[in-house]
Symmetry: C2
C-alpha cells in the first residue's frame, strides 16, 4: 500500500492517522507540493483533480480523503469504523459530506490562505468556519463522538481541519465540547501528531 | 418515509429521482424556502445545518443528500447502486465527495447566484464549474458511467448540478461526453424531471 502524501496537508494527515490507528504498514511517497508535482502529467494520471492524498493498493488508485477512509475502514476496520447497516453507514456519511463541504470551505480554506497564501475570501471562509464549528460544538455537548456513540471515520474525517482552525485565524477557545472531543481523539491508541496538532 | 423537499433544489431532486428509480413510495413535505422555514427552530431540530433535503424513516432523521443516497442504496438497492466491497464502495464514494465539494462550489454555487440571488463570487464559482466539468468530461470519454461501469449513486449525486450548470451561466455545449451521460441517465426506467432538467 502506497500513500502519496504531504506532511502539512490535513487531508493527508487524516489518512496517516487512520492507518496508524489501524496499525497498518504502508509506503509513504512525499509529493513535492511547492514544485507543483501534484499538477504534473504523471500525477494527473493518478488523480485528474490534481490533489493529494492518493492511495494505491493492489492496483487500485483512490483519490479523495473521505473515499480512502471508507476503503480502509471497510477493508481493515470490520464494523467498527464504518458499519454496514444502512442507518449506521448513513449517519457516518453525513459527516464525511460535512468534511468535504462545510469544513473544506470553512476552516480548511481559511488555513490555506493564512498558512500557504492561497487566494481565498478569508472573511467568508472564517465566517463559514465559525458557523460549522458552532454547529459541531452544539452537537458534541450531549455526545462524545460525532456519530454512533463511538469513534468512527466521521471523527477522523472532521478532526484535522477543526483542530487546525487556529492556523486559519479561527480560535477554538470558546468551544469546550470540541476541545474535549479533540482530547478524546488524541487518547486513541496509536494516535499520531502532525505539525499544528500535538498529542497534549 | 418522509422527504422534506424543495422542488427547485438540485440536492432534493437527487433524492426524489433516486426514490423514483427505486420505485419507492414516500410522503413529500414541501419546505417554504422563501419564508426561511429551513432556518426555523423546529427545522433546526431536524437539521442543525438548516438545509434540505432531510429524510425521516423509522425514527431516523438524516440530513445531507449524499448520506440519504447511501441510506436508500443500502436499504433498498442491494449491491446495485452502492456495493459493499471496499474497492467498489470507495470508488463510488470518490464521486459523493466530488458532489459535496467541487460540484457544490462550482455549478451549484453559480446557479445559487444566477437563479436565486445568493451572494456568491460568481466568477470563481463559474471557473470551478468549468474545471470540474472538464475533468468529468475527460473521465466520461472512455466510460459510460462515473464508477464501476454501471449506474450507481455516484451518477445520481453528480448529475443534477451538472445538468443544471447552464442555469448558472455555464454552458455544456462543448462537452459531448457529459451530454451523452445525461441522456443515458434520462433513459433509466422511472426517470423523473425537475424544472431545468427535461427528459428530452
Amino acid at each position: 500500500m502506497k500513500l502519496y502524501d504531504l506532511e502539512l496537508s490535513g487531508n493527508c494527515y487524516k489518512i496517516r492517522l487512520f492507518l496508524s490507528l489501524l496499525d497498518i504498514n504502508y509506503e509513504l511517497v512525499t509529493v513535492d507540493f511547492m514544485a507543483g508535482q501534484h499538477k504534473s502529467p504523471e500525477f494527473l494520471q493518478l488523480n485528474p483533480l490534481g490533489e493529494i492524498p492518493i492511495l494505491e493498493d493492489d492496483g487500485l488508485v483512490l483519490r479523495d480523503s473521505q473515499a480512502i477512509l471508507v476503503y480502509l475502514a471497510k477493508k481493515h476496520g470490520g464494523e467498527t469504523w464504518l458499519p454496514s447497516d444502512p442507518a449506521g453507514m448513513a449517519q457516518v456519511t453525513q459527516w464525511l459530506s460535512t468534511a468535504a463541504n462545510e469544513i473544506a470551505r470553512g476552516p480548511a480554506d481559511a488555513r490555506r490562505n493564512q498558512k500557504f497564501g492561497f487566494a481565498v475570501n478569508l472573511e467568508a471562509a472564517q465566517q463559514k468556519a465559525e458557523s460549522i464549528i458552532k454547529t459541531i460544538e452544539q452537537h458534541l455537548i450531549p455526545y462524545k463522538w460525532l456519530a454512533l456513540g463511538r469513534p468512527t471515520i466521521a471523527d477522523i474525517a472532521c478532526f484535522p481541519y477543526i483542530a487546525l482552525a487556529p492556523e486559519g485565524g479561527v480560535s477554538l477557545d470558546k468551544y469546550p465540547a470540541i476541545n474535549q472531543w479533540c482530547d478524546r481523539l488524541k487518547k486513541l491508541p496509536n494516535f499520531i501528531e502532525m505539525p499544528g496538532i500535538t498529542a497534549n
